[in-house]
């Protein structure tokens, strides 16, 4: 049996629900660290950044599913909805930390920031792009929208991931290497989808 077959066989057997729990474990762990000094003297920013980074990683993992199947024949599609919903959960937590802990519900200052600070504008746009995707990440919505309609709607993911990557590049002081690495990975994963556009897609 080839390695690919073995991976596919294993993936078929693994249930997704324990993975939700495993992937959510960083949340209580980070809160514990933040409370006990493990995130440094300024835990709010540290928590905000950690949650944002995990969200971006999950979005990127979601982008790997299609190229893995197309180029290597590895079928992990059953995990894609989970990755998307977890990514949305982390983006929401990231936003919630900003709104409640970082900005202390200072709505007028936040409103001004959303419009005046490009990195916040694009981050917020990325979040809004994910909202309809999270809402329609269930079988009923796939049936209601039809497979093609659902697929088209969920191409919004590409825009959301790009906005997340730009958000990260813009928020750091000066030019730093880590956000650029994330962006490079995003661009490569999106580029891997390009050639297929020319040929008619088979279901």
């Amino acid at each position: 049996m080839s390695l690919v077959d073995r991976i596919n066989g294993f993936a078929r057997k693994v249930p997704t629900w324990p993975l939700y729990i495993i992937y959510l474990l960083p949340v209580p762990w980070l809160l514990y660290l933040a409370q006990t000094g493990g995130l440094g003297r300024e835990p709010i920013k540290a928590l905000e950044h950690e949650l944002g980074e995990i969200a971006l990683q999950l979005l990127i993992l979601g982008l790997t599913i299609t190229p893995l199947r197309r180029y290597l024949g590895i079928n992990l599609i059953k995990f894609r909805r989970m990755l998307g919903l977890l990514a949305f959960t982390y983006v929401t937590l990231h936003l919630a930390v900003w709104v409640v802990l970082d900005m202390n519900l200072l709505w007028s200052q936040m409103w001004a920031d959303v419009w005046k600070r490009p990195y916040i504008t694009i981050g917020m746009a990325g979040f809004l792009a994910l909202v309809p995707l999270a809402i329609t990440s269930n079988n009923a919505s796939v049936r209601k929208l039809g497979a093609a309609g659902w697929r088209n709607l969920h191409k919004l993911t590409y825009a959301a991931v790009l906005m997340g990557g730009i958000h990260y590049i813009w928020l750091v002081k000066g030019i730093q290497i880590e956000p650029l690495i994330y962006m490079a990975v995003i661009v490569i994963l999106l580029a891997l989808r390009l050639p297929k556009r020319k040929a008619p897609q088979r279901a």
């Binding site: 003297r41 709010i44 928590l47 409640v100 001004a112």
Partner: protein
């Protein structure tokens, strides 16, 4: 000499560090209980003159010579040797020369100054400095009448400063003040914190403290002070000229191009630390506003 300025909240001066910490913890508990009840304005600003802990002050630093992360200076600054140390005072002075740190200390009166420190990144601390007024050190060399500005320079010793291997800014770090700002009694050279020698990551063995300006103006580990009649170049202005100008006075009404300066968060309050309003001239408006009378502070930020 010195003691020309005294803190209005003098009772803090005699409070030992442990008592500060206890009170701070009580306050943090109370703040968490109140939750998001809003911002108390001036009252809260006075409360915030509670000095930060030694750990806050010495483990959350910007000192790019030792790395750009907030914990890099505490991790790397032990490499710095501060003995012997001399400060060259030159330019428009009567007695230019190299002044040994020990000789400066002998001539100065050390006093405690509890100041707010407001970083341009919208966080703040309260630091119980020990030091002397810059004016007294400048008078050691005798300032000539034509001098209008003071230029400062930080040590540049790459073998002891790993951060200088990267050209984040054009080393050495330089800063400047107008002469009247430099001679103001609030402006000090700090040599200690909480009565101890100032740690390397905080700018040993002596660093400038200008409490009404953003923290980056308060240049660390000073090796040279030059009196001049021209506005001297300053490091962050050279690096990002549209974000940082010469004066860099704390001003809640003039935003940084990338973030608001209206509020700040005091370090050390944990996960539920509340933002507090940033005060004009960082709360020293009464003392320093006359220096800028008639100046457009939006243009000269």
């Amino acid at each position: 000499m010195a003691n020309r300025w005294t803190n209005t909240l003098k009772d803090n001066d005699v409070t030992p560090e442990s008592a500060y910490l206890n009170r701070r913890q009580l306050m943090a508990g109370a703040a968490a209980g109140v939750g998001l009840a809003g911002i108390g304005g001036q009252a809260q600003a006075k409360e915030s003159l509670e000095p930060n802990s030694w750990e806050d002050i010495t483990q959350y630093n910007n000192f790019y010579e030792f790395g750009t992360g907030k914990t890099d200076p505490a991790a790397n600054a032990h490499m710095l040797t501060t003995q012997p140390w001399t400060v060259r005072i030159d330019g428009m002075v009567d007695k230019p020369g190299d002044f040994a740190f020990e000789d400066i200390m002998k001539a100065m009166t050390i006093e405690e100054r509890i100041y707010r420190l407001r970083c341009v990144e919208a966080w703040s601390m309260v630091v119980p400095w020990n030091g002397f007024e810059l004016a007294d050190m400048l008078n050691l060399a005798g300032v000539q009448s034509g001098a209008k500005y003071v230029a400062f320079e930080t040590l540049l010793r790459p073998e002891e400063m790993p951060g200088t291997r990267y050209r984040v800014i054009d080393w050495p770090y330089v800063e400047g003040l107008r002469l009247d700002e430099a001679m103001h009694p609030l402006t000090i050279m700090a040599t200690g914190i909480y009565g101890k020698d100032i740690p390397n990551q905080n700018g040993a063995p002596l660093r400038l403290v200008v409490p009404w300006k953003y923290g980056f103006k308060s240049i660390k580990s000073v090796v040279r002070v030059t009196l001049t009649d021209k506005e001297p170049p300053t490091s962050w202005n050279k690096t990002l000229p549209n974000e940082y100008k010469f004066y860099s006075n704390v001003n809640p009404n003039v935003d940084h191009p990338r973030w608001s300066q209206a509020t700040e968060r005091k370090i050390g309050g944990g996960l539920f630390s509340q933002r507090i309003p940033t005060l004009m001239f960082n709360g020293y408006e009464e003392e320093v506003a006359p220096l800028y009378e008639g100046m457009d502070l939006v243009k000269h930020f």
